[in-house]
Symmetry: C2
Subunit: 559 residues, 2 copies
């Protein structure tokens, strides 16, 4: 009998009414805003500053992943279940998945195996409508922009060639990447180049995830940069009075969503920004809500620690006044094989101690980095069937040699039961390791200094090159007064460097900033170090073609 699919496991799981989950964490059932029986929004009144300071925040990050990913989400969900299994009051706080990829290659997922959040189908489809709301807020601003271009009496004099704000749609749809809008005559707008990004790439998503409350949300929305007037003056969303209506559209989306793990433990899913051109982690409000409701909050940051954790710490912790109390680096034996030179799937999927030994350098660099940031890491070896005892033992010993505990995480096949050891170590470290995050840079530093610091300290680069375009943009950013914002590095997740072929622990390299973008509303500058995909396409055989729903509403083909 083969191992069941994620959808099969999710559909067969006994699921509790969400009010039971809420009661576990002290939410009165009548305070919840239900979305069906298994999803609910938590009112913002449950945010408690005193409780936030006392609860423990556990950040789950990873080494540089293989293309398939190393299972941060399953480890996070499993760790939450493991913590509950050893008697702690723990809650997972994670991102909401994007709808677009569901119809492409991936099918659906919210964790995997026996470490999932449910109801799986709902979470992968419209969930509680947050992405749709973000999409609408984003596209309302676009409609207001084009309407202003069309306006005679109230024109801001926007130069359409300079508009950087794009529409979004939560769909893998490559034909929308580059389009021309406003054709068809005088009644139908001003022709201009435009494009759609996928919704997680919307700055509105990044903003929602960094906002503290409605006031902060409106201020950030108003600060969105749109483009320049013909006389080269910057234009912001506030110049169109867009922020009020955009915030109205986000009235419910700002509230965190409560669901449950397969083991009936609470999980909050809220927000899902891209991990390359944005911060790649759930909302600040959700993290604080989790800390208000539980003693331990397990959360994750997208991609490897060089991107996800770095941004989590320098952007999210900066704006949210947060500090992790424990820091878990997920590694897999197969990814270490990959970093040791076994780069083809057929190679890294079979035991290969030598490659693991060589690839260990990648994990060791991430351990070093953690310590530079004031954090003592724990390594979670996310277990796969192909792992050999020798390989696992080597990793444990190599970690021990640098004073770090590495523990096997077996959440995929065993759920929380396979995570008890890791959970105990996390509890110990959260209390005893003395973690005290110290940023590597101050936002007041120059932009070049901030970028150089990350490149040298985190990536291990010797320095930073700037393209001619980037040099010019540096000046513009200073002129606009945005150089004192945190930076949100956009580079490949596959390598510590900006070249995905440089596996392991690359040395003697420089990274190149090709160009800059800035998210004036969200509040960060984006140095672009590679080609960033903002709108995926569908594959030759889209997953959508294999999906069906029967007369009783039962869905097949979602995984």
């Amino acid at each position: 009998m083969s191992f069941p699919t994620d959808l099969e496991i999710a559909q067969q799981a006994p699921i509790k009414h969400i009010r039971e989950i809420a009661e576990k964490i002290g939410i009165a059932r009548d305070d919840l805003e239900y979305y069906g029986k298994y999803k609910a929004k938590i009112p913002l009144s449950y945010l408690k500053e005193d409780k936030i300071k006392k609860a423990k925040l556990i950040l789950v990050t990873a080494i540089n992943p293989t293309p398939a990913g190393e299972g941060k989400t399953t480890v996070s969900v499993g760790l939450c279940d493991g913590l509950n299994k050893i008697g702690e009051n723990a809650l997972a706080v994670l991102r909401e998945p994007s709808l677009g990829p569901v119809f492409g290659i991936k099918g659906g997922a919210a964790g995997g195996g026996y470490a999932q959040v449910i109801p799986m189908v709902d979470i992968n489809l419209h969930f509680t409508g947050d992405f749709a709301a973000i999409e609408k807020a984003n596209n309302l601003l676009s409609a207001l922009i084009d309407n202003n271009l069309q306006s005679k009496s109230r024109s801001l004099g926007l130069d359409p060639r300079t508009i950087t704000w794009k529409r979004v749609m939560d769909m893998n749809d490559r034909a929308l990447r580059h389009i021309v809008v406003g054709i068809g005559g005088a009644q139908s707008g001003i022709p201009r180049e435009e494009g759609f990004n996928i919704t997680p790439a919307s700055e509105v998503m990044a903003i929602l995830c960094l906002s503290k409350d409605f006031k902060d949300l409106k201020e950030r929305l108003g600060n969105i940069f749109i483009g320049y007037t013909w006389s080269k003056k910057p234009v912001y969303a506030r110049d169109l009075n867009a922020q009020g209506a955009m915030a109205i559209l986000l009235r419910d989306a700002i509230k965190p969503n409560l669901v449950q793990t397969l083991e009936g433990n609470p999980a909050i899913l809220h927000g899902g920004p891209f991990a390359n051109i944005a911060q790649g982690t759930n909302t600040i409000i959700a993290t604080k809500m989790g800390l208000s409701l539980a003693d331990y909050v397990v959360t994750e940051a997208g991609f490897g620690a060089d991107l996800g954790a770095e941004k989590f710490l320098h952007i999210k912790c900066h704006y949210g006044d947060l500090k992790p109390d424990a820091y878990v680096i997920v590694a897999t034996v197969r990814a270490l094989r990959y970093h040791g030179g076994a780069v083809l799937k057929a190679q890294y999927d079979v035991a290969d101690l030598q490659s693991v030994q060589k690839g260990m350098a990648n994990l060791l660099k991430h351990i070093e980095n953690a310590r530079k940031l004031g954090l003592q890491p724990i390594v979670a070896i996310n277990h796969f069937a192909s792992d050999s005892q020798e390989e696992l033992q080597f990793i444990e010993e190599a970690c021990a040699a640098v004073g770090v505990r590495a523990l096997v995480a077996d959440e995929f096949t065993q759920g929380g039961e396979g995570m008890k050891d890791l959970a105990r170590e996390v509890v110990r470290c959260a209390k005893e390791c003395g973690n005290d995050f110290k940023p590597l840079y101050s936002v007041e530093d120059s932009l070049e200094h901030k970028i150089e610091t990350i490149a040298k300290e985190i990536y291990g680069a010797e320095g930073v090159n700037y393209s001619q375009k980037a040099k010019t943009q540096l000046k513009t950013i200073e002129e606009l007064g945005f150089d004192k914002l945190p930076v949100c590095m956009a580079k490949t997740q596959k390598s510590l460097s900006d070249d995905e072929k440089k596996i392991g622990r690359p040395e003697n390299f420089k990274v190149t900033v090709r160009e800059f973008e800035f998210a004036a509303g969200a509040g960060f500058i984006i140095p672009i170090l590679g080609d960033m995909m903002r709108m995926p396409g569908l594959p030759a055989i889209p997953a959508a073609e294999l999906m069906d729903i029967d007369d009783f509403g039962v869905i097949t083909g979602l995984s």
Copy 2:
């Protein structure tokens, strides 16, 4: 003190938990799928065929409206409240409003004055996500089409110039009317002309509103016509295996939404197709759900009776096996003034008996039409402050002269209390009038015969002209085998004719079919008799600019 705005009335109304509303109509509280405290989806298991046949269906329609509309929705809501006030078990079943226009001129609305459905803000924003789901299902098909154009190995050989399927967005956004997609090189699709319609104009909306169950839904989705291959063969959504995934996206949208009137009576809002290029009335499932749960269901059809009621009867009743038991024509004194020649707002807003006497011809024609369809109408004079006693008396007498009762409807300022007389008459007529709808045409008739029948019998035209283009399309429709479908006339709502300047009861005119469209999935042919707007624009000062939300989530500027 001025009369409060709709939003003020709605926000000040005491609102009951939706479970209390559900209990009134026999829905167990645990069977509801809650969306917050004041909205819920009703599971399809509450559809009861035996009950549907016994309950009374009341169709609210209208004379040809002034540009401001004559208040069918307020009359429908008020009539539901009035019926409950006289001790009947009644429920309103209406359309969901579209989000796009909220940010344009209209602000929000779901009824008006003291005849509204609430929660008003929710209903006007994302509500329960139905429109977002329809949008996604529509746009998934678009993505699959463009993906197939890009495909080498699995190409259907679609000729991109023939594709009639468009993307949709629920936004007033004129710059999206005519666009070019797929530019930017070989990785980003095949360049082609494209456009966005507003979501209510999506054929997926029309399909959802005519589907009986998931099986029917999938079949209709699969039947959507996309375009032709290079070798001129028709291509349907089923050729892309799109219907399963599209139906999955509509899994929750297919379930009717329960809300309440200001007076705490149940109302179902479900679906909202355009009234010109589509059928303009809520889902068949919602109407049947209403009939399953109450003794009286008040529903409405968009625009005047020449469009809305005609389509309700020939399309919705045809597919849904429904017949109205009472038929209410909403007239206003101001609209009769308008039809009598007082065409400017400054004219039709003041008492003017002579114009009313002249304009009465419009109402009399709609009364005649009802009788042709086997229905005995009741006239509801939707009361405005400017109505004079003489005018009201004239209308009542003129109706009495043709054997029809006309009653003043005072729901806007008085709610159900102002609707008791009308409610009593509706109850009487539903039992005693012997209403027995007989279609004017059989779907098996030729397409020309069906169109001619509607034009002559309902509009009062002498005949139908066809443009050269329409004549060619007639042949195509026959070749494709779609000529045995009902017709969905698309013409101006302002006149019984196809010329909006022909007020009153036009005579000696012909109508012209300029072209045809067909909705092979929804199941109707659309003869186009004028310019049909499918994507509105924003006005010079969009309502969005005046909207705000405070720190407690309280919204202003929505009406």
